[in-house]
Amino acid sequence: MQPGELTDYVRNYEFAGDRLILRPVGTKQEVVWERFK
């Protein structure tokens, strides 16, 4: 990783059971994560 321009990443988040759903604002994209057990 190298330093570069600062850019904000804004995500809507939602917890659904063991899952975390991140949605980039202004898109229809959905990134789903599941908690490690």
Binding site: L6, V10, R11, E14, V32, F36
Partner: protein
């Protein structure tokens, strides 16, 4: 009226629990919502408009991690089979520079008071260093 309160009241409660801090401050996030993020999460998948995101292969792998100090890191590796070129790089098959890994690490910066269900992270790495996600974020989104 009851319907409106059902929406507004939880939102107000969330806002008061977030206690957003200035971007430059470095105190660790301590709110109840922040604590829900802490720990490691396995990448399940990405969809766009309900359909799987193309370009990451059949079984991409990834992890995202939020720690109690406010730092986070994430990495997603697409499921791509890159054939071995051989023990030595050649002109036709030069050594590749970790083409499938895409790291992120950062501190969560703040949550939005206007939209309390948002997490804000600050990217601080070269666009060339990662094709998918690359960031250093201030994880204060959830103080």
């Amino acid at each position: 009226m009851r319907g409106i309160m059902a929406v507004v009241l939880p939102a107000v409660l969330v806002v008061t629990s977030l206690r957003a801090v200035p971007a430059g401050a470095q105190s660790p996030p301590q709110g109840d919502i922040a604590k829900r993020f802490f720990g490691a999460w396995r990448y399940v998948g990405t969809s766009i408009d309900g359909k799987p995101r193309p370009g990451r292969g059949v079984e991409p792998k990834g992890i995202i991690y939020y720690d109690p100090s406010g730092a986070m890191a994430a990495q997603i590796a697409p499921d791509r089979r890159v054939p071995m070129a051989g023990p030595q790089p050649t002109a036709e098959r030069p050594r590749r520079r970790s083409p499938t890994m895409s790291p992120i690490s950062a501190p969560i910066r703040s949550t939005s008071a206007r939209a309390p269900s948002r997490i804000i992270a600050r990217r601080a790495c070269s666009p060339a260093s990662s094709p998918i996600m690359c960031a250093t974020m201030n994880s204060r989104a959830i103080a």
